[in-house]
């Protein structure tokens, strides 16, 4: 139960229009107060349990997304918030958009909406909690997501 009582989140905005982001932040504010569930918006991935991703992935943010994912200690859960993060949303066929977050890293739960209400995001967090517990029990590790060669700029 310990995991489910203290989910620390890291909020990763990859390519979002801010609509989802401000709602994620709104979850933490007094009206919704996610800290009731022990949620803290912790700044560093090293201490996070739940990765809350907003926005679709583009070619520049894909490295960031993978690095952050790799730096979260197991067990970890990825929550995709909003239409963009889930499926690419309205931007799914933009030239610089790779697609939903699940194209790049494994996603455990999705929150629909553009943008989702804070209540919906709280629902997502609650859903993530049980997944977190399961992962702990089953000792399920997130696999290291490799940076593919072509995503590292050639002039590195």
């Amino acid at each position: 139960m310990s995991l489910a009582k203290s989910p620390w989140i890291i909020h990763v905005n990859v390519n979002s229009c801010n609509g989802c982001d401000i709602e994620v932040v709104a979850c933490l504010t007094p009206l919704y107060d996610a800290e009731r569930f022990g949620v803290l918006n912790i700044g560093t991935p090293k201490q996070a349990d739940i990765m809350v991703v907003t926005g679709s992935v583009n070619y520049k943010s894909v490295n960031v997304l993978k690095n952050i994912y790799n730096q979260i200690p197991d067990p970890k859960v990825v929550l995709a918030v909003g239409a963009c993060a889930s499926t690419g949303g309205i931007f799914h066929d933009c030239y610089n958009v790779i697609g939903g977050v699940d194209q790049v890293i494994p996603v455990d739960a999705y929150v629909p909406g553009c943008c989702p209400r804070p209540e919906a995001i709280l629902d997502g967090v609650v859903a993530a909690l049980s997944i977190l517990e399961e992962k702990k029990k089953g000792n399920i590790k997130g696999k290291e997501v490799k940076l593919k060669g072509n995503e590292v700029p050639s002039n590195a």
Partner: protein
């Protein structure tokens, strides 16, 4: 000392927190929660698909299916306003969180669409 007053006032009041999910505030009736499709009148004309900005709707005439990718829909209500048969409506219930959801509905009776239906 402005802040001191504010925080002390906060302590003296009940917390402003809405205790969701333990107490659920009824959604406003104006809220655009989710798309509801009523297949009864649908003529598979595909107008909704054409109007939908994120391409969330797929109408397949051959299979007689109407399909909605709930997790791509942005609740813009273009389809609601665009459907000639008023098959699509919007509800103030939110779509469910969790696994990705596709609504795929086989349209029962299809009148071959006549010419552009007039309102």
């Amino acid at each position: 000392m402005g802040m001191l007053n504010l925080v002390l006032a906060n302590v003296s009041r009940k917390p402003a927190t809405r205790l969701y999910p333990f107490e659920v505030r009824a959604p406003f009736k104006e809220f655009k929660g989710r798309i509801v499709f009523n297949p009864d009148n649908c003529i598979l004309c595909g107008l909704c698909q054409k109007k939908c900005p994120p391409d969330a709707i797929t109408v397949t005439k051959a299979d007689k299916t109407w399909e909605l990718n709930v997790f791509r829909c942005i609740m813009c209500t273009e389809c609601v306003n665009g459907c000639p048969k008023d098959c699509i409506s919007i509800s103030n219930e939110r779509a469910k969180t969790g696994a990705k959801e596709f609504i795929k509905i086989v349209v029962p009776k299809v009148d071959t669409p006549k010419a552009a239906p007039s309102k």
